[in-house]
Amino acid sequence: MPMLIEREGVTAFTEAVDTFVRLAEDEAPEADHTDLLVSFARFQAEGEGWLAEGRRMGVWLSAVEPVEGLAYDLPRISLVALEFAKFRDGRAFSAATLLRQRYGYAGQIRAVGEVLRDLAKDMVRCGFDSFEPADDSTPEQWAASAFRFRHVYQSAADRRAPAFRERMGEG
Amino acid sequence: MSLAALTASNLRDGEVVFWALGRWAPRFADAELFDDPELGQAALILAKAQSTVVVDPYLIDLELEDGIAVPTSYRERVRALGPTIHPEMGKQAEGGVVIQALRVHSGGARSSGRLGLIRLKK
């Protein structure tokens, strides 16, 4: 089980306990599995029922599954796990950005797959707030990578003031 | 009879190096020559485990130029020499019989430089 790092407040990261049970495709949840993380296909087929049972739902999206498919369900979803099959596959950055900026999603967005601290800054900026590092990063290392840059040029989902706002004396 | 050598790039400085009895030598003249493919493969396996020493080790085909073994492929001869447009630069600068043999050898393929690659390509 890889370590889970969660963002806490603005600049802090802590080690967290993963409450979500990852169901295999043919596995049925036990009664005490209150938090479930399932594939998009399974969520579509069975999510309704599990939500009705009072469970909290997390949905795992691979890079080819568009976030648009979740649009109507987002208010009922507690976690969206976006997969980096390879760390150089940047589709999840757009997915997270859309979840936060277009759909106003306020739940957890988790980075899963080949998650390296070299991507921490980009992930945090695009709205990820929970991470399963594949490189044994500690929360401290994660924080250092995420905030290594004293200034950023773009406005993004993290609402950090970009350079052009700082120059105008804002932020 | 087939003849091969094992080459790679140094991780720290990027220099072209050749396997020489368990060590890495910068001069092609010092490269260990494998006339038995199995010995070459065995060295390659050892080299691949040295991932903090070298990058991308691979075996190259050799043939004889006036009795001296040189890489079959033009690309590998350029690696063993240095840029052809700067003959004073790189490994070729020190000269010698092997450097001379590398320079005069002609023909040979880029695509047969790396053992195993040609078959993949076809």
Partner: protein
């Protein structure tokens, strides 16, 4: 020159520090080569044939004298005393040690230079007109918009890991010196009938194994929405560009697959839904950027310089230089001087301490007083840099080829040298006129052979260096892709073949027609006959 403020400086310093940490992790084994490679590429560090190559960005081709000296210092301290200017206004060092690369980045940062995003599947250095701010042709200074793009694209959190590399060019002149149509995005700045500035946006141009010219998806994008519109294009590409096949991953394939209209529709949908205000630069920031370029203190001079006219009459070499290398400046009494690097030597300092790098691998001194032209010419002559051959047959674009590049099939530089020697006689070269020869050592087309009037592509034929010739390409405003002449020729047959092509042109040409125009009029047949009669 855009002057970096404390924020701009902090970004390149922090990036250098980040890379130092990544190198340390690679050397210790914490990062595998597979993980490290994309990271080092995003900092322009390649492992080439003889060692590591570091590609340094020269944002939109603009360098101060101090930066040029900084590059020279790095060349001496960490390399073998030379570098290569690329077709994308970058400079490459060929002998950098990985263990020293972090120090090189620190040294670059000291002169406000960096290697950020000079490789990797990200937004690369934005290229522009080397005559920006000096030519009377332009409707606005394109560098202001390039700098806006530089900042927006630098470490963009969403677009750092695209399907493939992404190149943007910006021009504001009718005469295109940026090859805008063969970029992933080509931006042409124009005024509409109401006098408002806007960009024509072309997407999906590119070279490589499937060359395309860009298609216009927007005629007149209001300039203040540039960054949000680019974000929309990039988002569509990031999400939908192919990632299963490296040869089909460029945006040109996506645009071709969807059709330009459908692609434009998707971009528009994305753009409409986007919070543009958050992305686009406010006017006050655009004005700040414009101001940060500073003003060149032009003197009030008569349009004709007596000194220069007299010198030109007295010195035929200067007259030739003026004919070929000197172009009109927007300010009376000034000129734009092209310095041909297709001759060995060093660069002296003139022209308001600024130098531009061109995509044709030459330099430009943007603001030279006509009165100083003779002295500049003398200085260049002393340094061996006065070759008066801009756009002539000996002014050849060549990629590094097999002398340096790990991907090469064949050499390119020695081929260029051989052809240049053939046309070295200045009278001969001038009588032939504009002839753009471009050479790539493999299908990746870094030498832009597809858009050469004569293009030369190195191919590997049963293990020997062979060269395929194409005719009729152009990377300028009349862009077109070259047509294959016929079977590839051997290494030592390239120069004779080019010679035969030129002879055929001289036979066929009418009046002052350029090689390209003659080719477009008469087609392949006479050229084919000339080469294959002679070469075989």
């Amino acid at each position: 020159m855009y002057r970096y403020d404390a924020i701009d400086k902090s970004v390149i310093e922090d990036r250098a520090a980040e890379f130092r940490d990544q190198v340390a992790r690679r050397l210790s084994g914490a990062l595998t080569e597979d993980q490290f490679k994309p990271l080092r590429l995003m900092n322009g560090l390649y492992l080439q044939l003889h060692g590591y190559m570091l590609r340094v960005a020269i944002p939109y081709g603009s360098l101060s004298a101090n930066q040029l000296r900084g590059l020279a210092r790095i060349g001496r301290t960490h390399d073998k005393g030379y570098g290569h200017f690329t077709t994308r206004q970058n400079v490459q060092f060929n002998w950098i040690k990985l263990s020293e690369a972090p120090d090189v980045l620190d040294a670059l940062a000291e002169v406000d230079l960096h290697a950020i995003q000079t490789s990797g599947n990200c937004i690369r250095n934005t290229t522009s007109d080397p005559c920006a701010g000096a030519t009377a042709e332009e409707v606005d200074d394109p560098r202001v918009w390039c700098e806006a793009i530089r900042q927006w694209s630098t470490l963009h959190p969403e677009f750092g890991y695209l399907p493939r590399k992404f190149k943007i060019a910006v021009t504001a002149s009718a005469q295109d010196r940026t090859a805008a149509k063969v970029h992933d995005i080509g931006l042409v700045l124009r005024r509409n009938r109401e006098g408002q500035l806007g960009f024509e946006v072309m997407v999906g141009g590119g070279m490589g194994r499937t060359p395309y010219l860009g298609t216009t998806i927007r005629q007149h994008l209001p300039v203040n929405h540039l960054l949000s519109y680019l974000s929309a294009v990039l988002r569509v590409y990031n999400r939908h560009g192919r990632r299963d096949n490296i040869y089909k991953a460029r945006i040109k394939i996506l645009v071709a697959a969807l059709g330009a209209e459908d692609f434009a529709r998707q971009v528009d949908a994305e753009w409409t839904a986007m919070d543009r205000q958050a992305v686009d630069l406010p006017d006050i920031e655009l004005a700040r950027i414009r101001g940060a370029f500073g003003y060149v203190p032009f003197a009030d001079l008569p349009p004709v310089s007596g000194v220069f006219e007299a010198a030109r009459k007295a010195d035929p070499a200067l007259a030739r230089f003026a004919r070929n290398n000197v172009k009109a400046h927007k300010v009376a009494g000034y000129a734009i001087v092209n310095v041909s690097l297709k001759a060995p030597g060093e660069v002296p300092g003139y022209g308001h301490s600024e130098v531009r790098v061109t995509h044709e691998q030459n330099l430009v001194l943007p603001h030279v007083k006509l009165d100083d032209l003779a002295a500049v010419h003398a200085g260049l002559t002393a340094a061996g840099l006065a070759a008066s051959n801009i756009n002539l047959a000996s002014d050849i674009i060549a990629c590094p080829g097999l002398d340096y590049c790990a991907l090469a099939n064949t050499r390119a530089i020695p081929v260029a040298q051989s052809i240049a020697r053939r046309f070295a006689e200045p009278d001969v070269a001038e009588s032939i006129g504009e002839l753009k020869i471009k050479i790539s050592g493999c299908i990746n087309a870094c030498g832009h052979h597809h858009v050469g009037h004569i293009g030369i592509l190195g191919v590997d034929k049963k293990g020997e260096e062979f060269f395929q010739l194409t005719l009729g390409g152009s990377g300028a405003e009349d862009a077109s892709l070259g047509d294959v002449l016929g079977p590839a020729v051997a290494y030592d047959q390239v120069t004779p073949a080019v010679d035969a092509l030129v002879e055929a042109y001289l036979r066929e040409r009418r009046g002052a027609e350029r090689f390209l125009d003659t080719y477009r009029r008469v087609g392949l047949a006479p050229f084919k006959a000339a080469v294959y009669a002679d070469a075989h």
